[in-house]
Every structure is written in C-alpha cells, then in structure tokens.
Amino acid sequence: MKPSSRWLLIFGAAIGLLAIVAIVLVLIGGAREAPLLPENTPEGTVQRYFLALQAEDYMTAYSYLTPPPTEKNPYEEWRSPLIRPEEKPEWKVTLGKSAVSDSEATVDVVVDIFRPGGPLENPVRTQYVTFFLKKEGTSWKITSPWDVWWLFY
C-alpha cells in the first residue's frame, strides 16, 4: 500500500470514529441542562432570564430587567429585535464567575451563537459578556446589558 493511501485509510477511520463519538456525546452528554439555581441569587436571575428568552417568554424575561429611565416605551424597545423568530440562530450560554458586593453584583457569561457561514468560516460566534445586577428587595434585577439584539445577530 502506498504511504498516501495508508494515510487516507487512517484519516477515514479517524473521521468515522469522530462521527460516532460526536453522536454519542451529543445524545448522551449534551442532553444535560444546568440545575435551576436559587432565584434570589445573581446567577439564578441571569439563568432564569436566559431560560425565559430561550422559551420565547419575553414578558417573564423582561421582568428580570431594570430598564434605563431614559426609555419612553422600554418594553417595546427591548422587544423589537425579537420580532422575527424564523431568523433566530441557536445559542447557548455558559455561566462563569460571579461577584457580589452589597447591593450590586456581576455575573460573567460566555454566549456561543451558532450561525453557519462559508466552509472555512467558524460557524460559532463567541461573546464574553458581563451582566451587572442590582438588588431590589430580596431579588436581583439586571441593569446591563439591557438590550438583547446582540444575541440574534
């Protein structure tokens, strides 16, 4: 067997193995979703916010936000980029570090947005976002980022 054919055979076997491993991992390992965190924590608020967005329950998602006082119609402004559901790419959010100081908190998240492009283009766009929260009574409200358009474009 020629060396180049031998390499071809090795690559073919590796590719077959990759396909099988990917299917198994996604169908078994990828099925795991995060447990629901307590609602009165900054991480729990951010988690519920994204879960509501994923379920397209925009009223609930909006209830976790504190809109800026300058907006005249804050809900309509916030909701407007979410109008075209057929164009929405799939996305996932990984919760990272959080820090609490008195009535303020930050939660780091990694957002991966899946939008296939050309063959040589990375189909996953990754954004590192820090959420800022403020304590209101016993619950936490997100103050920034207030808008959500970046999740869909």
């Binding site: 396909a19 990917a22 994204f50 799939e90 990984t94 063959p119 996953v124």
Partner: protein
C-alpha cells in the same frame, strides 16, 4: 486530462474538501464543547449541540463522499504520469490547499494559544479553534506529504511551489516582526519610569497574549518555510523578490519611518516647544526603537543571505535593481520633502517679520520635521544612488533596464510638471500684484509654496535630465532587435537561458529536454555567451532554436510554415 477536465476535477475537489473540513471541524468542536463544558452551568446547550451535530454530520458525510470520489479519480489519472503530476492546474490547487489550510490553521492556533497563555479557563475553552487547528493541520500535512512524494517535475510546478513557500515565509516574517514590536512597546509603556501620567491596566492584557501567540506562530511559520522549504532554492526569481523587495526593502522602509519619527520628536524636544508632559513624551521610543532594531535585524540578515548566495546565483539582478531604484526613489523623495520644508522656513522669516499674530518659535516644528527628513534621507539616497551609478557603469544593458527607465522618467516628468505649475503661479501672482497695484509681501506670500518647490525642482530636473540624455546617447532607448529565441536544455544546463537573456536584454523561451541526460555539459565563459548572443543576432530570420548537444550549442534559425 484536458485542461477543462483538470479545472473541473480540482475545483469540485477543492469545494468538497472545504465542506468535508467544515463538517469535521463542527463535529470535533461539538465533542470538545460537550467534554470541556460538561461541569459548567449551561443554558440552551442541548439544542445548540444538536443543531451543530446535524449540520456537521450532513457536511461530513456528503462533503466527505464527494471529496473521496474526486480524490480517487484524480489520483488514478495522476498515478505514474509525470505530465499529470507536473501540470500547472494540479499544482495550483495543491499549493492553494496548502496555503489556505496553513493560514486558517494558524489563526485557529493563535486563538488556542491565546486561551492557553490567558490562564486556560475551562468555561472559555476555544472548542472551535482547536477543532479547526486539528482539521486544517491534518489537511495540510496530508497534502504536503503527497506533494513531497511526487516532487515538482515541471517548471510550472516549481514556480507554484515557490509562490506558496515565499508567501508563507513573508507572512511569517511580517507576523513575527510586527508582534515583537507590539510586545516590546506594551512592555515599555508599562515600565515604572513614566510617572503617574500613564493610566493603564495590567501588562498581561489581551494584546500581550495575542502578541506572544503570534510571535511563536510567526517564528515557526517563517522558520519552517524559509529554513526548510526554501533551502538552497538559489535559482528562483521569487526568492529574489522575497529577499530584495519584501525583506530588505520592507525592513529598510519600516526602519526609516521609525528613525525619521524618532529624530523629529528628539529635535522637537531639543528645540523646546512641547505641550505634552515631558515624563510621557518619550513613550514613542517604545515602538520606534524596537521597530528600528527588528528592521535592522531583518535587513542585515537578508542582506547577508544575498551576499552568501551571490556565488550560486546567475540571475539575481532584476529584483536587486528594482530594490536599488525603489530605495533611491524613496531617499530622493524624502530629501526633496525635507528641503522644501527648509526653504519654506527661510521664506517665512521675511513674511513673519514685524507680524504681531505670529507665535514665537513658530518654526520649531517645521525645522524638526525638515531636519529629521534630511538627516535620514541623505545617506539613504547617496548610498543607493551611488549603487545604481556603479551598476549603470557596467554597460548599456543596465541602462536599458525598465526599472532605471521608469525611475528616470518619473523623476524628470514630476520635476517638469512641478516647474510648470510653479512658474504659472509665480507669473500669475506677479502680474496680478502689478495690475492690482499690490506688489510686495502679498505676492511673496501667495507664491511661497511655488518658490519652495521651484528652487528644489530645478537642480533635481537638471541632474536627472543630464543622466537621461547620457543614457540616450549610449543607446539605452534603442529598442533591441528582438528574435524569438527558444532554448532546449536539460536541468543541468538550466542557467544557460538566463545567461543568454542577460546578454540579449530580453526573455527567451525554455524547453526542457526529457531524454537521456547529456554528459559533462561544460559551463560557458562570459566570452562564449557573448559570442552565442552575437550568433543569435546575426542569424537570418526572426526565430532561433538553441540546442545544447555533444558539449556544444547549436544555433538553428528556423521559420514556421
């Protein structure tokens, strides 16, 4: 295979390989994602992974099947067929695949390395980057192995391989140099010598991590392609282009820009008109000094290489010549700019005399720029122009060179147009001043720019016009009576064509002899090559075939029926 069939096969193969690679990258990325992010708290991971899996599998299976079918068909046609292996279309696509996979893989490697040096946080694991690095690495290695095994059996194959090698060498050298300067600049800005004026974050920032990654990758790419793949490739024109036009000229220009900026800032400081706080003023040294050092290292190393290789190279004049005229042009242009600014200051002295609205020391900045330009440009112009004069002294063939003709005509043309524009403005201002009854300072003020450029353009025009006329008298403009010359040679006598080209002053066609290699083809002396060129000129008709056989060269004039 016909050319159309080759294009069809390789084009479909290229696209199918892209689909296959994208599918494999997506699947591998999903695997890394599921494994590394498993302990992390995720929202929407299930739907995300399933969508990626679906697309990855579809692209992998369909793209993979198409790729395999076309690759087998191509390899069946190629097997043992030297003409097919050496075909320009095959080599174009093979080298294109090598270049694209190398560049995509390098950007992925940079992302992965940056994540490593940034502390390797698991929730930020770059699954996509690592997947693309592995897939492009495999594609590159496989095609590299194939091309290494089959070799480069035709001139087209050699040329296309060289395009790949020198493109990647140049890319690696630029990435290495730029990021070295960037890293040192950031380090200098973080030195505790700038007082409290600098407001900055931690040194270990994203840009430093990126610089480090690219230094490693740029160095590795340059090292591999330059020291391994381009080793002993002495008879390559592209090598000369890389050496003279990218490395030597590029290094010189980068270093000169940094030197000019440094001198300007130092003169400005010495003359004493600064609005910036002094403790941060010299921060520019953070990028100018490393730029000069890196540029000098690049320049010295590649200059040294050209000197070492001079003994092996028959035909390196073209790129070297372009480099000399390019640097002469840059030196002359910079020198002229400096002199124009200097004359502007001298003319401004009587114009500003007695004026109440002029700031004291108005000329400091202009003088700093002018001194910086003149100090840098004068030695550059003198060095390179002297070199071109020495080259021109060797004979009329050098004076006929396109780069010399272009240089002289650009300089003379630009000087004539500048003079014409200056004279029109000066005469217009003078006449207008006389007719309006306002001669004096106003006329001088409105003619100032024209006077500055006129005074510099006149000697520049006179000097280069004299050289142009001298070239013309020596026959530089006489078009050489060209014949279609075809040389049939084996690899062993390949340099013969370039020697003849040099004597004739125009390109000759080369045919490669594939039969039994002739024994002991003698190296021809300069005198024998001149005699051969004279025989070609004296041969009847417009077409001549040269055949090297039996230790001598037959000059055969012919005509197509």
């Amino acid at each position: 295979m016909s050319t159309a069939k080759r294009v069809y096969f390789y084009l479909v193969y290229f696209v199918a390989l892209g689909m296959f690679a994208a599918g494999a990258s997506i699947l591998l990325g999903v695997c890394f994602d599921v494994i590394t992010k498993y302990p992390a708290l995720q929202i929407g991971a299930q739907a995300f992974s399933r969508q990626a899996l679906s697309l990855g599998l579809a692209m992998l299976v369909i793209g993979g099947a198409l790729w395999f079918l076309f690759w087998r068909a191509i390899q069946r046609n190629v097997s043992g067929n030297l003409a097919e292996i050496g075909s320009a279309i095959r080599k174009l696509f093979m080298n294109l695949i090598l270049a694209v996979s190398a560049l995509v893989g390098l950007y992925a490697a940079a992302g992965f390395l940056k994540w490593l040096v940034a502390g390797a946080l698991l929730n930020q694991f770059p699954s996509g980057e690592l997947a693309r690095l592995i897939v492009t690495g495999v594609i590159w290695y496989y095609h590299w192995r194939v091309t290494e095994e089959e070799g480069q059996p035709s001139p087209d194959a050699k040329t296309l391989r060289r395009w790949y090698v020198y493109l990647l060498s140049g890319w690696g050298l630029v990435a290495l140099s730029v990021n070295l300067v960037g890293l040192v600049n950031t380090a200098v800005l973080h030195l505790p010598v700038w007082g409290e004026a600098i407001v900055s974050g931690s040194f270990w920032s994203s840009s430093v991590q990126s610089n480090l990654s690219w230094i490693l990758l740029g160095g590795a790419v340059w090292g591999f392609h330059w020291f391994r793949m381009a080793r002993r490739d002495f008879d390559s024109t592209l090598r000369q282009v890389y050496l003279y036009l990218l490395a030597i000229s590029g290094g010189a220009i980068a270093g000169l820009v940094a030197l000019t900026t440094s001198l300007f800032k130092v003169f400005r400081f010495a003359l004493g008109t600064l609005s910036t706080p002094t403790n941060t003023y010299f921060q520019f040294l953070g990028w100018t000094v490393p730029t000069m050092l890196v540029a000098a290292a690049v320049w010295v190393y590649h200059q040294h290489v050209t000197q070492e290789e001079a003994a092996h190279v028959q035909q390196q004049l073209s790129a070297r010549r372009v480099h000399s005229y390019l640097m002469s042009f840059i030196g002359l242009g910079t020198l002229i700019a400096g002199l124009i600014i200097l004359l502007g200051i001298l003319l401004d002295v009587p114009l500003h005399a007695g004026s109440m609205v002029v700031t004291p020391g108005w000329w400091y900045n202009q003088l700093s720029v002018c001194l910086a330009l003149v100090v840098v440009a004068t030695p550059i112009w003198l060095y390179y122009w002297n070199r071109t004069l020495q080259m021109a002294a060797k004979g009329v063939a050098e004076r006929r060179a396109s780069s010399r003709r272009i240089f002289l005509y650009i300089v003379v043309g630009a000087a004539i147009l500048t003079l014409a524009a200056d004279l029109i403005n000066i005469v217009y201002q003078l006449l207008n001043g006389l007719l309006q009854g306002t001669p004096g300072t106003e006329v001088l003020r409105h003619s100032k720019w024209s006077l500055q450029t006129l005074v510099v353009a006149i000697p520049a025009l006179m000097y280069h016009w004299r050289i142009l006329r001298q070239d013309q008298r020596l026959g530089a403009e006489v078009a050489a009576a060209r014949k279609t010359v075809t040389v049939l040679v084996s690899d062993r006598a390949a340099e013969l064509a370039s020697q003849i080209e040099e004597k004739l002053g125009y390109k000759v066609h080369t045919l490669r002899y594939l039969g039994r290699k002739p024994k002991g083809f003698p190296a021809l002396s300069d005198k024998e090559i001149s005699r051969l060129a004279a025989d070609i000129r004296a041969a009847p008709g417009t077409k001549v075939m040269l055949i090297a056989t039996g230790g001598r060269i037959l000059v055969l004039p012919y005509q197509e029926k």
